[in-house]
């Protein structure tokens, strides 16, 4: 429990104001058994300097499933995603309050080592961002940072299995030493996924992983997400509602820094409870 400091008190005062103005209590139809909860977020608030971006998010993410975040641009999906691996730490002036537990460990606490945390939580970005290194070195980057694969043969194996898992191995087998930036967009994105799973994470965060890709590359990534689902807990931000419907089991709808509705994907898309969700899904705004 956090002690009630003066700062907290002010925060809460403010948030009450805001809540009165612009949020309804969130609708959540989802009942996840406690032992299946991988990530538990409680009252997560984020501000960038003076500007508040998230107004108290409560969300449970189940293990070994795909959870998608949808919502109009600027509603805070990426911001929330970045809270989960503490990437917001790298942004000047960004402050995160609230609690996020992963397997019962409070990952927002100061004691948590972000290096180890990020080894457990991989991230894939909107634009494929392979390092300007060889394909091999791209995949080996994470394992080297964390001291995995000490011998050459171990490392080779890690690289090969990671590429195999993303279905890239047979495409790039003969050119592992060529630069990763020379691949096509879709291949680059799969390389980035391989790079993330090379350190054997438990969770994969994907921030609009297909928005820079063509439909065929997108289909491949979606297929891949489906395959990876059993071994990893996946959280995906997407702008495409069809994509959310295709790949995810749970869907959370964000709006203006609030989590408006969270439920089974099927239920969200067929019978949304909240007016705003309904409006967004039927394309009336967003």
């Amino acid at each position: 429990m956090k002690p009630m400091t003066k700062e907290n008190a002010i925060d809460i005062d403010k948030s009450v104001d805001i809540n009165n103005e612009m949020t309804n209590p969130q609708v959540s139809s989802l009942q996840i058994p406690a032992e299946e909860v991988k990530i538990k977020a409680e009252d997560v608030r984020v501000r960038y300097g003076e500007k508040e971006a998230l107004f108290g998010i409560n969300l449970d993410i189940p293990q070994s499933k795909v959870t998608s975040f949808i919502g109009p641009s600027g509603c805070g999906k990426s911001t929330f995603l970045r809270c989960l691996n503490r990437m917001n730490d790298t942004i000047d002036g960004c402050s995160v309050t609230g609690n996020i537990h992963m397997d019962g460990v409070d990952i927002l606490s100061k004691q948590v080592d972000t290096v180890l945390l990020r080894a457990k939580i991989g991230m894939v970005f909107q634009k494929p961002n392979p390092f300007p290194k060889s394909i091999y070195d791209n995949v080996a980057y994470g394992p080297r940072l964390h001291g995995l694969g000490n011998s050459k043969s171990d490392m080779d194996e890690i690289v090969e299995t990671s590429l195999e898992k993303v279905g890239l191995l047979k495409e790039v087998k003969d050119r592992l030493l060529e630069p990763g930036t020379g691949l096509s967009g879709g291949q680059q994105q799969r390389l980035c996924i391989a790079r993330a799973i090379a350190v054997d994470p438990e969770i994969l965060l994907m921030d609009e992983p297909c928005s820079a890709l063509d439909p065929i590359a997108t289909a491949k990534i979606e297929e891949l997400i489906d395959e990876l689902r059993g071994s990893y807990t996946i959280v995906i931000v997407t702008h495409s509602m069809q994509q959310a419907a295709r790949v995810s089991q749970q869907t959370a709808f964000f709006h203006l820094g609030n989590l408006v509705e969270y439920g089974e994907t099927e239920q969200i898309f067929t019978s949304p409870q909240d007016e705003r969700t309904k409006g967004y899904i039927t394309g009336r705004f967003g």
Partner: protein, 460 residues
């Protein structure tokens, strides 16, 4: 004085032309400005340009050709000049004539031919200036009349003015380019003259440099020797020391400023670093000669080393400090141009800041950094003031940074300072050194700029 008066007259006429053109244009449409093709001021510019430009062109032509015409006329009045006389002899005769004309005394004051030539010269000058004045004023007035005659509602004054502006801009660029070509050309020309006297291979590969040429033929060492190897070796040694200082310090400070510093520190720190680039090199020169060199010598003595008081080390260290801003600000630019996505990628895999910098950012920025270092190197090689003040004069072929060495720039300065004959190998050697230096820095710059540009493309 006369030039000033001409200029003012023409400006005044152009000014009058502006108002004439303007008011005439307005008058032709009896005040309804919308009937004019262009704005009233365009008609003003139009007449002013008609008034000023022909006069200006005339003036420029005059300045280009007047000396040649006058010289030819004067020389034709001086009989018995050897037709094969070298240009230097003719130039001396001319300068004697001019001196005589200006002062009434001097060499040849008792030679009637020279006195006559001097009078001829004075006469030509007076007539020429007077006719120029008349011609300029006449041209201006003529331009004023023609220009204002043409003003009317249908005259496309705006387009004509725009067209002329294009020509003016073109002319400026041409001047800049021609000047550069001229400078390079004269460098090349003089250097070729030098290589006519001293074989090219002796210059490039000779190991001994002592350009002093004895005044009397029978003196010892009457033949200077022009082996440039020690000089270029000295240049390289000092530049190398400078880069050894500037590259690590500049690069590390760029990394700090771009990756670690808070925006506040950066806002103060970066301009401070750039102030270094604004210090005049002569100030670095004193600093090298008066502070650094004695200090190094003192240290050396304490360790029992023999340090020259004009050691390469002192000059190189200070030059290194001077080029830190080049390295740091260019590196800073390229480091900041590395996309944030790459940093995020590394952080998201659990990379720490220093791991991200060394394994992702620096490799990505490396081509740009190399380009920056090459630009800094070309700066160091061409730098003059610091080495003139702090490096030695004698050409030593050594790799020991504690000894005095000399550089190409220092030698050029010493070769050209003082009274010189313009066709002795000693003077011409400076052009040859300059040519080699120019080629080296040009290559460095071209390669560096290409590298930097290529790197930019990659991330845009």
């Amino acid at each position: 004085m006369q030039t000033t008066i001409f200029t003012f007259t023409v400006l005044l006429l152009a000014f009058i032309g502006y108002y004439m053109g303007r008011s005439r244009a307005v008058a032709t449409v009896s005040g309804d400005v919308r009937k004019l093709h262009s704005l009233p001021r365009h008609y003003g510019y139009f007449v002013a340009l008609w008034c000023g430009v022909p006069a200006l062109v005339l003036c420029v032509l005059w300045m280009l050709f007047e000396p040649y015409i006058v010289n030819t006329l004067v020389l034709s009045g001086v009989p018995n000049i050897d037709p094969d006389a070298s240009s230097a002899v003719i130039a001396r005769i001319l300068s004697d004539v001019k001196f005589l004309a200006a002062n009434g005394v001097g060499r040849g004051a008792d030679d009637p031919v020279m006195v006559a030539a001097a009078e001829h010269y004075t006469h030509l000058k007076t007539v020429g200036t007077a006719s120029l004045a008349v011609a300029i004023i006449a041209f201006s007035i003529l331009g004023l009349v023609i220009g204002s005659r043409r003003v009317g509602a249908d005259l496309k004054a705006r387009n004509q003015v725009e067209g002329l502006i294009r020509w003016v801009l073109l002319a400026s660029s041409v001047i800049a380019i021609l000047t550069t070509i001229g400078i390079v050309g004269s460098l090349l020309f003089e250097a070729i003259r030098f290589f006519g006297k001293v074989p090219f291979t002796d210059f490039l590969f000779g190991l001994e440099w002592s350009p002093q040429i004895a005044l009397r033929k029978d003196q010892v060492a009457s033949q200077g020797s022009f082996g440039a190897v020690p000089i270029f070796a000295g240049t390289m040694l000092i530049s190398f020391i400078a880069l050894c200082v500037a590259v690590p310090v500049g690069l590390l400070s760029a990394i700090y400023m771009s990756e670690y510093a808070t925006p506040k520190v950066r806002a103060i720190g970066k301009p401070m670093l750039e102030i270094l680039a604004g210090i005049p090199t002569v100030v670095y020169g004193f600093f090298a000669a008066l502070v650094v060199a004695p200090t190094i010598r003192g240290f050396g003595e304490a360790w029992g080393l023999d340090v020259s008081s004009e050691s390469a080390l002192a000059a190189g260290l200070v030059m290194g400090i001077m080029i830190i801003p080049f390295v740091s600000s260019l590196s800073d630019d390229v480091i900041r141009a590395v996309p944030q996505a790459l940093r995020d990628g590394s952080y998201a895999l659990g990379g720490t800041k220093s791991e991200t910098v060394t394994q992702v950012i620096l490799p990505a920025a490396l081509p740009g950094i190399v380009g920056g270092v090459m630009l800094a190197a070309s700066r160091a090689i061409g730098e003059t003031m610091i080495v003139v003040m702090a490096a030695g004069l004698t050409a030593n072929l050594t790799a020991n940074p504690l000894q005095a060495v000399t550089t190409a720039t220092v030698q050029m300065v010493t070769l050209l300072v003082g009274d010189q004959e313009f066709d002795s190998p000693k003077t011409l050697a400076a052009f040859a050194l300059g040519l080699v230096l120019f080629c080296v820095t040009l290559c460095l710059n071209v390669v560096a700029l290409r590298v930097v540009a290529k790197y930019r493309e990659k991330y845009d």
